[in-house]
Amino acid sequence: MELGPLWLTVKLALITTIILLIIGLPIAYWLSKSRSIPKLFIEAIITMPLVLPPSVLGFYLLLAFSPQNSFGKWLQEALNIQFVFSFEGLVLASVIYSLPFMIGPVRSALNHLPVSLKQASFTMGKSEVQTFFYVLMPNIRSSVLTAIVLTFAHTIGEFGVVLMIGGNIPGVTRVASIAVYDAVEQMNYPLANIYSLFLFALTFVIVVSVFILNKVSVKSPLE
């Protein structure tokens, strides 16, 4: 058995979670601020990966980034980036696929904070950025943690979107979920079992930790 797919899975989940933390928090804040028709559409697009079959998302990403099409060709020629059948492609697909898992809990928590907290900070001369980091974020910590854990777990559970854009290249795009599928195809059930057990154990620990987090958050200072 090779450990490659397991390591690749963890690496992909880690990188995806870090990227989503950086881009997800500002987007969640922006979405929580007020409602408008354009925002509604953007929110719908961000939420789509929750309901869309992963193969559909993967298919469109494959079309968009294929070097045979203009955008993919431009990326390859101008920037020397290839998203199809590469680890970078997996990261990009995972970021899009797990976006709602990072944004959903954070946006909902921000909406539940009394608006007066933000306003009080503004009247004290604090900017939106200062208010975000010193007042808003510390008071939704448990929701941010839940979002991080869910994003990580969801990325580990990816299959369809990863297979579509990344294929099954050992050491590059063959993550654990694909290694299971590959082993079963080759009738190597013991190997499939090892990968499956690893995924099962890892996601079980993660889900349990989300429950513990939620229990702790009930005792948060806001309650």
Partner: protein, 204 residues
């Protein structure tokens, strides 16, 4: 002198109406603002603080124009720095009493003076969840005063407190306002509670 001459459409339970206020507040005066529910008392305070934008009119504080719809001047709440005591206090659950005050101000001597006048020295390391209703209320006032505001806006600051606590806190507030001089606007549902504190009454 704070001169307010504004109009703003507000939504009430029986439809939309215009909140129109034209009034001057003398420097360092204490004015109670009264009126029936839904008359726009809270909105009026938020219009002055810059948290809501008037439809038209002007707000000037001393020589400075905070808002002028014709000249398209609209200072942000950050630039106006009005002291605001919210009806729900808006204390930050993550911060201790001391952290609330240092977040508002870098002025250490002022912070210590506020803590002493507000009788809060023993609670500097407490978070809002571990303060009584009266202490939370006092902290909200001290935090607003820590920014050394030109105007202090208070939205029904005593509505959630029982009679005894209310009398004690009004006495405290009186002392605070004597020490830290600022123009003060207090929205209240019970005008009588501010007898002896407020010098003027504005009905909207």
């Amino acid at each position: 002198m704070i001169k307010v001459d504004i109009s703003r459409k507000i939504k009430t339970y029986d439809g939309n109406r215009d909140l129109v206020v034209s009034h001057s507040f003398a420097d360092l005066s204490i004015t109670r603002i009264t009126g029936p529910s839904g008359s726009g008392k809270t909105t009026f305070l938020k219009l002055i603080a810059g948290l809501i934008k008037p439809d038209s009119g002007t707000i000037t504080v001393g020589e400075k124009t905070w808002f002028d719809s014709k000249q398209k001047i609209n200072l942000s709440p950050q630039k106006r720095r009005a002291g605001f005591v919210f009806q729900d206090y808006a204390l930050f659950p993550n911060m201790t009493v001391m952290e609330h005050l240092t977040y508002a101000s870098q002025n250490k001597p002022l912070i210590h003076k506020l803590l002493a006048t507000g009788n809060m020295q023993s609670f500097v390391n407490h978070r809002p969840a571990h303060l009584s209703g009266g202490q939370q209320q006092r902290l909200a006032i001290l935090r607003a005063l820590a920014t050394e505001p030109g105007v202090l806006l208070m939205d029904e600051p005593f509505s959630a407190l029982d009679e005894e606590l209310r009398i004690a806190l009004i006495a405290d507030l009186k002392q605070l306002l004597q020490e830290i001089k600022t123009t003060c606007l207090i929205v209240t549902h019970h005008p009588a509670e501010l007898d002896g504190l407020a010098q003027f009454t504005l009905r909207i």
